[in-house]
Symmetry: D2
Subunit: 205 residues, 4 copies
Amino acid sequence: MNPLENLTQYFRDFPGIGERQAKRFAYYLLTKDATFLANFAQSITTLKEGITECGLCHRFFAHTINQTDSTCDICKDPKADNTQIIVVEKDADLEMIRRSKTYNGLYFVLGGVVPVLEKNPEQRVRIRQLMQRIEGLAGTVNEIIIAMSLTPVGEHTDEYIRIALKPVTEKNNIKISSLGRGLSTGLELEYSDTATLKSALGNRK
Amino acid sequence: MNPLENLTQYFRDFPGIGERQAKRFAYYLLTKDATFLANFAQSITTLKEGITECGLCHRFFAHTINQTDSTCDICKDPKADNTQIIVVEKDADLEMIRRSKTYNGLYFVLGGVVPVLEKNPEQRVRIRQLMQRIEGLAGTVNEIIIAMSLTPVGEHTDEYIRIALKPVTEKNNIKISSLGRGLSTGLELEYSDTATLKSALGNRK
Amino acid sequence: MNPLENLTQYFRDFPGIGERQAKRFAYYLLTKDATFLANFAQSITTLKEGITECGLCHRFFAHTINQTDSTCDICKDPKADNTQIIVVEKDADLEMIRRSKTYNGLYFVLGGVVPVLEKNPEQRVRIRQLMQRIEGLAGTVNEIIIAMSLTPVGEHTDEYIRIALKPVTEKNNIKISSLGRGLSTGLELEYSDTATLKSALGNRK
Amino acid sequence: MNPLENLTQYFRDFPGIGERQAKRFAYYLLTKDATFLANFAQSITTLKEGITECGLCHRFFAHTINQTDSTCDICKDPKADNTQIIVVEKDADLEMIRRSKTYNGLYFVLGGVVPVLEKNPEQRVRIRQLMQRIEGLAGTVNEIIIAMSLTPVGEHTDEYIRIALKPVTEKNNIKISSLGRGLSTGLELEYSDTATLKSALGNRK
């Protein structure tokens, strides 16, 4: 396999990228000079040098220069409301919530979703780590907010988390909630569905 | 203008139909025989014979054979909860809510929306008729639910209705609410927006 | 079935129209007054009064007031080049060619295409009428141009026509051709295919 | 700028990639281990070690281990028909033609297209190198085939090349041709255009 095909294979595995676009990426890099390529390559090899997966919430964060532990700035933030923890699928969801500035509690990145027929969900998502985290927060946290996408797999993951956390939440008297349904921005009533309408009527105000 | 072009012009004005599809419709009808065309034409001329606009909610409904008034079956339904009335833009929205079987109150079809810069909104939508209807229900109804689409024009219409109804609702102590916002079915968290997330967090359960 | 549902059913059978849009059309007509509906209905019932299917080329055309035969203006045109006849699938294709002003010969509307596994193609398309028409033009016409879409079913129909016409063309020494392949307007080379490229190279100029 | 944002910026400049997908790529790489990242980075830094831009046709090619010159395998191929040279915009176009196996001559990669209002086209595309290459082939080559996309900018580039090459082709009696127009695979007649139809009629067979 020549270098062009070799690199194309790497891009082929990128999320959402097909054969043709993978090739385009490789040709694009061919037009760049050696310095550019060296810098780009270095930004890949050093990617994780500055980025750590938080030991508590499991999000990726840029640690500070002299940082010795693996706890992120949100988990350390003394102003964060540690009575609430929100469980999201991935970093991008966490960022979306953060950007909305409507939530000030703790986070937990599950690292995936649980398909309906998955036999070993505990190997796909960080459910054990979530349980440990909640145990560790017992006495402090009083609500776990599940924030999955409203897709079939998202709803199934929501249910899976609720069942898995039941022992620890019941023992410690912690409430579990899920994000509310309703009309989302841009939705035309004519194209909504029964579940959405039911919720929208239920939480009218 | 020949008959083909003439008919094409009619289809040209149908909602969502362009020149090319309008022509296709005309050609499609050309392949049909005289009996079919006569029946189709009759279903158009007799459309309104069996269909009446309800004098109370303004929806179109199929009246019964001996019906002498113009009140629809929903407005007459003794089982309907006449303490609530929901205001929708158009018949299709009303049907969507009806099909969801999550609402059992009265309806009102506004007949349109109010664009932001509209100077004569009362000529575009049935706001006067809505006010009269609410007056007529004073003492019975205790909540008006505004059910507009979550589009900019829908949100503007919601606001317009609230302002217009304020005198009558304050006088009669009637609550005004709007459908609740939140995650709607199929929405991925990553592609949601601040307003939706804020509501979804607010009405979590 | 009430008048609204009845009319919706008619629109449901229109080409490219689904349940929802069919209903929209019906609601759209409900907002029109009786005069409009009567005029629209009349344009449907009288559609074929002014429009005739040409006995020779089978296209639909608007006949003139005192016309007693069923031959269209193109077939009658003394300036038309009657040494050539082009075979198209449908009226819309004929019009597209006419509008291009690059062809001045005769036309024939086949009235459909022949799917690959069709057992009775002669019942789906006007192949017998085409053969008769060519027989009638023997001695005059010297080329038949097949103008099907470059889709699998179009290519199969092309082949079907060639086989069916073989006896009459060989007997009368008439050439059969098909529209040329090549790059069509807007095509990017990167997204073309082998057959197109081969033709484009073959007919370069 | 932290390492994650830094890497995202690189992906942001990839062809066809927006902010959101760039970020996804970076997060995707964060889930990989150090060995994977090192290998990926190496495939980038070594990309051009094995790949050379051919000094004659300017395509990128994988040179053989002991290769000392910069001439690609196509340009060296003794079986190639060196009476023809085809001019393409980019490597991907060249590959498409090669894969079609319908052309056996020489190639030249122009390296871009010439927008209509471009003031310095010779700085955007390899027109000088093309002229030199043709000069070098004088006496051997007898046809230059321009193979641009059938887009406005492609057609303008075609014209630009013809004008620029005129002196050299007239002096050496070399023919210039362009890929033929016509129906391309998948095209429906109803959705074609006048230029395409005209060509398709002209090169029917």
